[in-house]
Amino acid sequence: MDIIQFLLDLLFSEAVFVPLIFPGLLTLTVVIVVIIWFERKLAAKVQLRYGPLYVFKPLGGIVQLVADLVKFLFAELIVPKGADKRAFLLSPVILFTFSVAPVVAIPLSSGYAAVKSDLTLLIVPALLTLAPIFVLILGWSSDNKFSFIGGLREGYMMMAYETTMFVAVLAMAVTYSSLSLIDIAGKQSNGLWGIVLNPLAAFAFFVAMLMTTARFPFDVTEAESEIVIGPYTEYSGIYFGLCLGASYAKLYVLSLFFAVVFLGGWNPLIWPLNLNPILPGVAVLVKAFLVMLFCVFLRSVYPRFRIDQALQLGWHKLLALSVASVVLALVLIGLGFEVG
């Protein structure tokens, strides 16, 4: 009896529940399944067609992705002859892990977070910067020219978006005079959300987020008609699923982050959200989901940029914009504008 109690306690302790169940792996899987379904359905609607339909028809084929996942699981895993086997097989797993990992640092309510640190605003982007390195490695280890080019493109893109993203985050740190996400979300309880306070930072961060997760129009790393599917060309089966999942996982993590920093987090804390420390997380999740929906909808609107244009946009326009957002934040502080 004690053992079961112990295991239940362990499961519901924040250090386990957060990374594994909510908002970690389990929630992530469900969200990925649903968001890809939405992505395909939205694109299909714009394109005058149905999209996934026949796998569980009453709900419009919503379990299509589960079917795909099962198919991925049973597909043969092929390792190309010239590939560096260890790197080839390990890097997708590490890539996926690092794409999901930052989720532990995102608090979903003031009393509910796995990592109780004052620096969570920095931990999330810092953990995310590790992921692209493994894209480079897996592109390199595949022994395929297209994978190699794709990996290089990811490397270049990383240079373009990360600076912007960090500077935008910095601007928010200045705006709120805090590095703790719990603080930041708390300071938005007056209804003045980050996106209103510092729209420049929000915009710069959003575009950088599109770049990070290779959403259209910044689909340059995957660019099917140019380099097949970029770094993931040689992957098959569940490893391919992991690679694709990694980019959606990043999208999920960044959307949660965006929701906390710019969209007021769990505010307004209305009934029934205040009943349980986990429930405010649902509000964050819903906001993040809307952000994700917006991101994936862009697929049906845009073609993709060329790599040099994406880089130029990153360095010339977005960086300037994010620096401007820091200035804006300083001005706000300088004017004695007290946040929260």
Partner: protein
């Protein structure tokens, strides 16, 4: 050491952006320094097969290389054959040929725009263009009884008369298309990302375009107003009022815009044809006379023309004939040598895509890897058409 500076990239023939073609691209970083298209992966020896077929049997054969644009290929062949036979189709048939040729041009341009869209990543443009081919295929189906491989134009006329209610349907389709083109413009053609991707990419200057002999929208986007419909008018084109769409820029975006504007011109032509189409027979009287009275009466009733028995083995007199028509992708050129037998002695077909292959080499040098699909789509290159 200097060779090791370059990366040799083999694109295709199994590549989502290559079509049935092997491209050997020599890359200096992201810059293309050498580009060699290797075609022939879908070569079906149309010219050789034609030498074993009778003249009527060649009609479906010439349609096969360019399925999105069958009517124009069929028309070019039929004109050459009529020259050999020394006959000319009645005026109403000429108008109906023009009608189908323009419906097919719209259809083919939509196909080209759609492929261009997916090549630079816009799946919506791809799906839209392919969806909007549907009304045009339906129109063509009402006219000819087939959605794609019409085999509609035969020596001496066309196979079917205009069906009931066709004009009404066609006018609806033209109005629909005009409205949709505005949405194309907003979502794709002048989408800032599209413009960034295509403008100043793959430039063919005016004199270069003429020198390397590209044809069709590719040529006209480089500022040369060459359109066979104006240079050597055939069918009803001398009586119709339309403009040759010319742009000066010569880049990929100009080629896309020429295609879009040509759809508008085709719509204009279709409206004129529907208004002005003269009454009268759609098949040569001298052929109709060869039919048995019962069949003739039935053809009169159903308005579906019937072939005289001589069509099974048409024997044009000894001689040669050439014809050129403006198909959607450019000029199709036929050269037929007859030795008086039921099969041509030599059959020559030069398709627009084959003449546009050369443009790859000139348009892409010094550009980036990502420009390959952008330029490929803008040339509307169709490998089966080039390989024949």
């Amino acid at each position: 050491m200097s060779e090791e500076r370059f990366l040799e990239l083999l694109i295709g023939p199994q590549h989502p952006g290559s079509g049935h073609m092997k491209i050997t691209a020599e890359m200096d970083g992201d810059i293309i320094v050498g580009f060699e298209p290797n075609i022939g992966y879908v070569h079906r020896a149309v010219e050789k097969i034609a030498e074993t077929k009778t003249y009527m049997q060649i009609i479906p054969l010439v349609e096969r290389p360019a399925l999105p644009d069958t009517a124009n290929h069929n028309l070019g062949y039929t004109l050459a054959l009529e020259k050999l036979l020394g006959i000319e189709a009645p005026p109403r048939a000429q108008y109906l040929r023009t009608l189908l040729a323009e419906i097919n041009r719209i259809h083919s341009h939509l196909y080209g725009i759609g492929i261009h869209g997916i090549f630079i990543g816009s799946s919506t443009m791809f799906m839209w263009a392919f969806a909007d081919r549907e009304p045009w295929m339906e129109l063509a189906q009402q006219l000819t009884g087939a959605r794609l491989t019409y085999s509609y134009m035969i020596p001496g006329g066309v196979r079917r008369n205009l069906p009931e209610g066709f004009k009404d349907n066609a006018l609806k389709a033209t109005r629909y298309m005009e409205r949709r083109l505005k949405d194309y413009d907003k979502l794709f053609v002048h989408n800032p990302v599209t413009v960034a991707r295509l403008r100043d990419v793959g430039i063919l200057k005016k004199n270069l375009a003429a020198r390397i002999g590209v044809v069709g929208p590719t040529l006209r986007a480089s500022g040369i107003s060459y359109d066979v419909r104006k240079i050597e008018p055939y069918c009803a084109y001398p009586h119709l009022d339309f403009d040759v769409v010319v742009r000066e820029e010569g880049d990929s975006h100009a080629r896309l815009l020429v295609r879009v504007e040509e759809i508008l011109q085709s719509i204009r032509i279709i409206r004129q044809v529907l208004d002005e189409v003269p009454d009268g027979p759609v098949f040569l009287e001298s052929y109709i006379k060869l039919l048995s009275p019962k069949i003739r009466e039935e053809a009169e009733k159903t308005q579906i023309m019937r072939f005289p028995a001589t069509f099974a083995a048409l024997k044009p007199p000894k001689g040669e004939a050439t014809s050129r028509v403006e198909a959607a992708r450019g000029e199709v050129f036929y050269y037929i040598v007859s030795d008086g037998s039921p099969q041509p002695y030599r059959f020559r077909m030069v398709t627009p895509s084959f003449r546009n292959v050369v443009a790859f080499k000139y348009a892409l040098l010094g550009r980036r890897l990502a420009d390959i699909p952008a330029v490929y789509g803008s040339l509307d290159y169709f490998p089966p058409e080039a390989d024949r």
